[in-house]
Subunit: 207 residues, 4 copies
């Protein structure tokens, strides 16, 4: 297998990339000046060394500054409220939420969701890491609210229930506020297309 | 212009139907047995005589029973709570909400929405009819809550503000509860795709 | 079942119309002035009486003029070359071809296609009617070319083979030219998306 | 700008990749074992050295074997008929045609198309390279047919006319056959959707 074939196969493992698109990438690289390939190689090399997981929120990140310590820029940011932790599924959710510029706490990334009837849910998400982090925060008196920001799907609900149950055993009643993002009509929704659950949520929490 | 051409032009006025689809309808009718055409004509004749607007909620309906009095089956239904009125834009919204089987009050159909900066908003929606209906309900002590169920769009928000302002002048403070369907994450939403307004609403109303 | 429900069900039998769109049609009709409903009823009435099938090409049409004789305007048009017959599947194909303004002969509409391995193909298309028409044209010395204009699909190919075999037995070799629309690259095609059969046809018939 | 940001920007230059997809690639790489990144770097390195342009057909390719001489595997393949040259726009067209396994000659890649009214068309395509290649083939008596396989679009037609005119001055009349892939109905086409040009081509070349 030659370089174009190998590269095509590697690109096919990228999320959402089929054989045709992978080939298109390779042709693009073949046509581009070698300077571009060098930039790509150099960024990949750097990623290999600097790319790491934050030891607080467990997101993957690639800051050069992070070579020394393994905490990401959000978790290190002293202007953020570290007593509020938002529990999310994945990095892309964090990006979308950061883009709204409406949240100033920190995050914890579960790294997955639990489908209904899963036998060993603890293997699918970072529950041990969350427990350890909360124990430390509690002993430091460093936590006030845990916010669930999981998708409004069956998997999201199963995950929230499982994590909530675990978290409640640690934080004690009343000490730490547990909350969930409100459900209702999202922006742009026309009532004509409303589904049963969304309407029920929006109706019950009308105000 | 012959019958096929005239029929094609009439079908082109149906919502969402272009020339090709209109022609397809005509060919379909030409091929179908004349019995089908007769059924269609008979249903249209009946609609012409029975089709009317409810004098309470102002929706268009076509119940045969309605020939006598001009109130629709929902507004006449004694098992429904007539002290709760949900203000909506159009008939299709009513259908979608009825399908959720989660609401037992009655409706009022505005018949439109008000875009921002509209000079004469009262011409775009049934505001006079709403005012008259509310006056009557208040004098009968027949109203407890008005729920806004308008789309989560600029037009929906402008409409709600305008109607709310008008309604408040009639109902008096504290006598009638004014509410709005909750905003937040709707069913199926992945946080990855959340927009600024939806996140802000969901975050502020977390609970 | 009342008029709106019956009308919704009738519209759901129109090609490509689901329950939601059918309901939208009914609401549209309920809102429209009764004059529109009357126009619709009148066009449908006329279609019931004037809508008929051409006794030459077998297409359905609805010309008022056709009340007297049952031949469509294309087949009656003396400026067209009646010695050339294009065999097509359905009325919409005729419309599309007429729109190109590139064909001046007449048509014969099979009214269907034959899938592979069909046991009684003669029941799916108007083969008897085609045979009768050709017999008459031959005895009148009124035919020079038969052009197959069927879709480039398996069903189209099976249909052409079956009709061609039948036609050949009638017209005799050499007397009537049998032809098929050329296959190759159609307008707008990018080679990047070419499929095996299209390329083979385009390559073999390059010129 | 750190490695993740730089990598995101580089991926955004890949064909068809927006900022969200580029970020998704970077997160994927961050999560993947460093072995995958190493494979990617190694394939890119190899491409940098082996990736080159064929000195006959001018396509970009990345065969390791090509380090020594700069002719691609198709042009070197002695089982192919080098007296037939198919003129195409780009590498992806070549891939699609090779996949049909219906062509056994060689290719020449123009590397672009000429839009109507272009002032200096020779700067948009490899016309000088084509002329040089044809001169050599003619003096070696090594060419019999030139096949145009360009998209059926305005740009494709302008390009063919320009190249054909240039080529005719070189090859002399009658010595080398110039042909173009046939135009007509492509596989899967329903007559209902036929456009004017496709029908005209299919009708004029019926057979």
């Amino acid at each position: 297998m030659n370089a174009t074939e190998r590269l095509t196969e590697l690109f096919m493992r990228f999320p959402g990339i089929g054989p045709k698109q992978a080939k298109r990438f390779v042709y693009y690289l073949l046509r581009e000046h070698s300077h571009f390939k060098e930039q790509l190689i150099s960024a990949l090399e750097e990623l290999k060394f600097t790319g790491r997981q934050c030891d607080v929120c467990f997101r993957y990140f690639g800051d050069k500054s992070a070579v020394q310590d393994a905490t990401c820029s959000i978790c290190k940011d002293e202007t953020r409220n570290r007593k509020t932790v938002m529990i999310i599924e994945k990095e892309l959710d964090l990006d979308a939420i950061e883009k709204t510029a409406s949240y100033a706490g920190i995050y914890f990334i579960l790294g997955g969701l639990i489908p209904p009837l899963t036998e060993k849910p603890s293997e699918l998400i970072r529950i041990r890491e969350l427990v350890a982090m909360l124990h430390q925060k509690i002993s430091n008196n460093d936590i006030e609210e845990i916010i669930f920001a999981l998708p409004v799907t069956d998997n999201g609900d199963v995950t929230r229930e499982y994590v909530e149950k675990t978290v409640k055993q640690i934080v004690g009643i009343g000490k730490v506020k547990l909350s969930t993002l409100a459900r209702g009509l999202s922006s742009g929704l026309e009532l004509e297309y409303v589904d049963k659950n969304t309407f029920k949520n929006a109706f019950e929490h009308r105000g």
